[in-house]
Symmetry: none
Subunit: 419 residues, 2 copies
């Protein structure tokens, strides 16, 4: 099955917004064996939308659009596409009622504004694609020849949710036979450089990639290894992923913390939960980022007690019990300070694990001895304290991200008896 | 002047690569008054490339392509487009010589491989666009009617370099007279819904948009109002932005916190710094996100002392001094608890401003009384305590983002005497 994607919005043509919707759609569709034959971006004008969608329909008979479903007057997707199919627009009372309930349940003042009712205008004969992630419903419009357009909202969160909830299941039901897929498998590593990793893998003399391609994807979380297959059935691809992925995982060894889009924070929380441990953080340069990452995971409250954001040195001393002498002798950015912060967080909050992070995120504050990017990390696991000092690359944001990730990785390694 | 962009590469259709080239080109072209009327992405196949470029040429007479100029057999852009213009391919000796020199100067082993010579194949009558950032030269092909295609490489760094060095100057020379620009101005609002904002603006009976278009861009930070001009000189556009933007700002009133890409955290830090205040945070559901946002800004250390991540209720009681009776009577998610958290953070860290956030980020933990998305926020400004309870939409991450933003906004409003 082939289809085309049309993303709608003036902001895409002005370059104000990078089109992440198109890439997300393409990736998800590839997973279920659907090929995207072309992507088009057009502005908000009704005639531009109609022209692009009509051309796409003529080529492929199947089109997904994103954008232009909102309540304002520049949201022209539905009437423009209704025109292609020769359908009139009508007000759908069920949608009006849903919008009303939604308005009330949010406690917003007054009645549903008239402008919002535009979202309840749908083409005659359309199927409504329910939107559990926002107010604008999606639309499925199909003609007697089986040609169809699925209209999704442009807000990425809503589009992604609706794709998973409603559209993908519908499309999977349309695809027949055993499709070949373009599939990929990702192995996530951290704490090892791309070049060290590639040396290890090159040294696997006997490794047969079985036609899979391998990409190294470095980022602040670490280096992901991505295997990609094409032209194979899902089953065949899975078998090759298992064999080749197993060999790569063995090569990367204790640097592997997960697969797919696994988050190191989840890995760490799972390990702590299994060992019935609790954790508290003490953050200086990261300013709360590590706490935010741990608590980003639903259900983290049985493991995460909380922490102290010790941005000012007084907070390090008064709340965490870092000794003024340590600050004076070694500086606020030192393994010694990080160790006392980790112990202090553990003592203060009564957790079994404490983490300390202190560093120089820049752009100012660097010295020849401790340049920007210097981050010291320590973990206190029931009195067993480990620490290291690292040099992180990137801008202020990335240095902080890498610092929090390195701290999580030290917890992971200690919990697994690797450090 | 209008043109179309065609980005070429299978990876764009598979979604492995997000098309940043298209957005960059659109932004840079808008700066010199060139409008992009459509963007298309196609795969590497010669017939797909030829079809997409031919259609784009028929619509607009001017096309920029990126991708498919490399040395491998799947780089079909040049022959595909030469076919549209009815031109044969020929080997350009000057380019071969340049490639040879480049090969040698890099110290690469042996002679220039035959495969690399494909980069020296160019259509008859083409103009070479010099590439100082890589090996594949760009191509300009034009017919007797003045219709043209400019082919740039797909590697973002090379594409951006060539655009700036060679293509933009060429295009600016094509546009005559005082160039008109596509420009925009953004007004950032928060704490008001898109529909309430649009009602306020619709009620400005006397507002003349002077030909500017207005877009509402809702997100977790709030609703941005973006005015866009096209077909005006830079000077004329600026004058209209000032008049129309002024009227919109007056309508949105105290919900406006900045313009452009201003961050509310920066606005708040600036206000605190000016008033010689310091701030400490007490975060439950946001788990450190507010601290992270404040400390994301370089130079925040003169204002931000730190805070307490009070994820577990014991931390709220023991560190922040929230009364157990308050938790029992009103629950951990209540304005009362948020107020005591704010006061507790202030007292514990000795800051002049304290912020408390507590809420239910979900997906679990909601009750009929306090559904997922309920967030209570309080600010204690030197003993003057204000709080509110709000209902945030979105997933766990977005609820937390909106919670932190709402807390910052309460600080902003109190500092400005608006709350």
């Amino acid at each position: 099955m082939q289809l085309e994607i049309v993303t709608i919005g003036d902001e895409l043509l002005l370059g104000f917004t990078i089109d992440t919707n198109g890439a997300h759609l393409a990736r998800e569709l590839a997973q279920v064996g659907i090929t995207v034959s072309r992507r088009t971006s057009v502005g908000d004008g009704a005639s531009e939308i109609a022209a692009a969608v009509r051309e796409a329909l003529d080529r492929s008979g199947a089109v997904i659009t994103t954008g232009g479903l909102g309540p304002t007057s520049d949201d022209m997707t539905k009437p423009a596409i209704a025109g292609i199919f020769g359908r009139a627009m009508r007000l759908d009372d069920t949608i009006v009622e849903r919008l009303r309930l939604r308005w009330k349940s949010r406690g917003w003042p007054g009645e549903l504004p008239e402008s919002n009712k535009q979202q309840a205008q749908i083409p005659e004969g359309a199927t409504i694609l329910e939107n559990q992630h926002g107010s604008a419903p999606g639309i499925w419009l199909e003609d007697e020849r089986g040609r169809w357009v699925a209209m999704l909202p442009g807000v990425p969160r809503e589009m992604r949710g609706m794709l998973a909830d409603v559209l993908l299941p519908r499309l999977v039901a349309l695809v027949d036979g055993v499709p070949t897929v373009v599939a990929s498998r990702t192995i996530r590593t951290t704490g090892i450089s791309e070049s060290a990793l590639s040396d290890r893998i090159r040294n696997l003399a006997e490794l047969d990639f079985e036609g899979l391609s391998l990409a190294y994807l470095p980022g602040w979380e670490g280096v992901d290894l991505r295997l990609t297959s094409s032209g194979l059935t899902a089953e065949d691809a899975a078998a090759r992923f298992a064999r080749v992925g197993g060999a790569l995982t063995a090569a990367a060894a204790d640097h592997v913390y997960g697969g797919g889009s696994d988050d190191l924070a989840t890995t760490v929380l799972d390990a702590l939960r299994e060992a019935r441990q609790t954790i508290a953080v003490a953050e200086s340069c990261t300013g709360g980022m590590l706490g935010m990452r741990l608590t980003a995971i639903a259900g983290s409250s049985d493991v995460v007690l909380g922490g102290v954001i010790a941005y000012h040195n007084d907070v390090k001393v008064q709340q965490l019990g870092v000794r003024p002498q340590t600050l004076q002798d070694h500086g606020a950015v030192s393994e010694e300070t990080a160790r006392e912060m980790a112990g202090g967080a553990r003592a203060l909050l009564g957790s079994s694990v404490g983490v300390g992070i202190t560093g120089i995120a820049g752009p100012g504050g660097g010295t020849p001895d401790k340049p920007v990017g210097t981050v010291c990390v320590a973990v206190d696991l029931e009195g067993d304290v480990r620490s290291f000092r690292a040099s992180m690359v990137g801008d202020r944001h990335e240095i902080r991200q890498r610092g929090a990730q390195a701290a999580l990785n030290l917890v992971r390694r200690m919990m697994a008896g690797m450090a």
